[in-house]
């Protein structure tokens, strides 16, 4: 196989890896938007909180004889709780207020989390240890990084599970119903509050998984790490069609690939600009995103 092709495939895999992390984060934006019509600007910062929760839990976990990667569960629990509490405390009281109020509150929550973590843990980046010890995968002359394979497979499994949950289970149906018409859902006997909490928990939990996978690729964490990552995932969600679950998945992959290939073949510095360029293009050409408004599942 020619060397260039091997390199190209590596960049592709790298793009899919980062893309699946974006997709996991984008799902949180899209699910929350689908159900309460709010862009949760604090979602990116939930990732940061997840990363710190994972980091600080590692010594405790290894201390009691558990493998370090169990920190994923701690991060998921911490983020799910954070998501549910944020919704109850900050967003729920504003549910019947103009949407801009909730949006501004979301930005405030984002700033609050960043600054709180800066005050508590300083702004200097902390190294994230290597917690996954997976062997590299060899396919002929191509060697694929084990963590990349793990990230891609794990995201794929989570996304399939989420899709099955939303489509096939009773709670998933409740989520779709609330997202489409919360008053009618309430008349059917569905607790709208509980369904919204559940959505925040799931979305934030996925962000927590993303935070650990992200820490395994870029092993430095700081209080601001969530903003850029969150922003790119948000673009991914918009690209796929905000509120549409498969859209977030596709959008994440596209953004990851574009970013990776731009870095490799054009210019590293340009990668972010290209990603934001995509956002502008989408907003101009097809603001409802790839999956449009009426096709696909809105949640």
């Amino acid at each position: 196989m020619p060397q260039e092709l091997i390199v190209f495939i590596k960049h592709l895999i790298n793009g899919v890896q980062v893309g699946s992390i974006y997709a996991l984060v984008a799902l949180g934006y899209t699910m929350v938007y689908g159900i309460v019509k709010l862009i949760n600007f604090a979602h990116g910062d939930f990732i940061m909180v997840g990363a710190y929760a994972a980091l600080f839990s590692i010594p405790v976990l290894t201390g009691i004889g558990l493998p370090a990667w169990f920190c994923v569960f701690v991060a998921v629990a911490a983020c799910a709780l954070l998501g549910v509490v944020t919704e109850k405390v900050a967003y729920k009281p504003l549910r019947n207020s103009p949407r801009i109020s909730a949006l501004i509150t979301a930005i405030a929550v984002s700033l609050l989390l960043q600054n709180l973590f800066m005050v508590c843990f300083t702004s200097s980046p902390r190294p994230f240890p290597e917690i996954f010890h997976v062997p590299d995968l060899r396919l002929g002359s191509i060697q694929i990084n084990g963590v990349a394979v793990l990230t891609i497979v794990l995201s794929a499994v989570l996304m399939i599970a989420l899709q099955l949950f939303v489509q096939k289970t009773k709670l998933g149906r409740a989520m779709r119903a609330v997202s489409e018409d919360s008053e009618a859902a309430s008349l059917m006997g569905i607790s709208v509050n509980r369904t919204i909490s559940m959505t925040f928990a799931i979305g934030s939990g996925l962000a927590a998984v993303a935070s650990v996978m992200y820490g395994s690729v870029y092993p430095l964490i700081d209080p601001y790490m969530g903003s850029m990552l969150g922003l790119k995932a948000f673009i991914a969600a918009v690209l796929g069609g905000i509120g549409i679950i498969p859209g977030a998945m596709l959008g994440g992959l596209v953004i990851g690939l574009v970013e990776s290939l731009t870095k490799a073949y054009i210019n590293t510095q340009l990668a972010d600009a290209v990603v934001f360029g995509i956002l502008i293009l989408v907003l101009i050409i097809k603001p409802e995103g790839i999956f449009g408004k009426n096709i696909g599942e809105k949640v």
């Binding site: 009773k170 149906r173 409740a174 779709r176 119903a177 489409e180 018409d181 008053e183 009618a184 859902a185 309430s186 008349l187 059917m188 006997g189 569905i190 607790s191 709208v192 009426n294 599942e297 809105k298």
Partner: protein
């Protein structure tokens, strides 16, 4: 069965319901008629907790509905078909019907009720796999009623089921309402089509800007001069 006493509701500074009392007895069809903005929808919304009351009481078989969360009301045997249908348009017809049975666990009875709905509305059966949003207005109304029936309620609140339908369909819908009532369903019907509503009702209330200005038997109100003038265009 359902008893509303001295109910007041306001939206901010606007008082939409200014202290109304009404009662629906088991087995009755009671209608609530009135012009646009009289407060009919607000009354139904307050009964099912979608809108908060200011004061007064709403009781279903002695149970205080104002203190019951909206999503818990359907399991008490009261179903509400909201104005404008509010079907789940991206779900299929059958999924919509099954949403109506969301709180139920008795699988066999649910299937029986599903076939009962399909018998009443054969058109829904033909379109069971179709996305509900693609149904015609009349079919959507049938779906909204069918969905409410899937919770197996003892009392049904219907908010303008005839809205936007052709005269033929209006007739069909009213026929079905009557049939449901004959099968034992208690019905509180909100309508602008006063003639149709009064003709099938045991009793009726006339609502005018948040107040009940008249009440009586359906037939009696149909003959009433004031009602004829104001609501029957005669």
């Amino acid at each position: 069965m359902l008893k509303v006493s001295d109910l007041k509701v306001s939206y901010g500074a606007i008082q939409a319901i200014k202290g109304i009392s009404l009662e629906v007895n088991e087995g009755e069809i009671v209608s609530l008629i009135g012009a646009n903005g009289a407060g009919k929808t607000t009354t139904l919304h307050t009964i099912t907790g979608l809108t908060k009351a200011q004061s007064g009481s709403v009781e279903l078989e002695g149970r205080n509905l104002l203190a019951t969360e909206s999503h818990k009301i359907v399991s008490l045997g009261l179903a509400h078909v909201p104005e404008g249908r509010h079907i789940f348009s991206s779900l299929t017809v059958e999924e919509n019907l099954m949403m109506g049975a969301y709180i139920r666990k008795d699988k066999e009875r649910i299937q029986q009720d599903l076939s009962r709905v399909y018998t009443l509305f054969p058109r829904l059966q033909e379109r069971r796999e179709q996305a509900a949003g693609t149904l015609s207005g009349g079919e959507q109304q049938m779906l909204a009623i069918g969905r409410a029936m899937m919770s197996n309620p003892r009392i049904l609140l219907l908010d303008e089921p005839s809205m936007g339908l052709s005269p033929l369909l209006v007739k069909e819908i009213f026929h079905i309402i009557k049939e449901l009532n004959q099968q034992g369903m208690t019905i509180l019907l909100v309508e602008q089509n006063a003639r149709m509503a009064l003709s099938i009702s045991n009793r009726a209330y006339v609502l005018e800007t948040g107040k009940i200005v008249m009440e009586g038997e359906g037939q009696e109100l149909l003959q009433d001069d004031q009602v004829r003038k104001a609501y029957l265009g005669a």
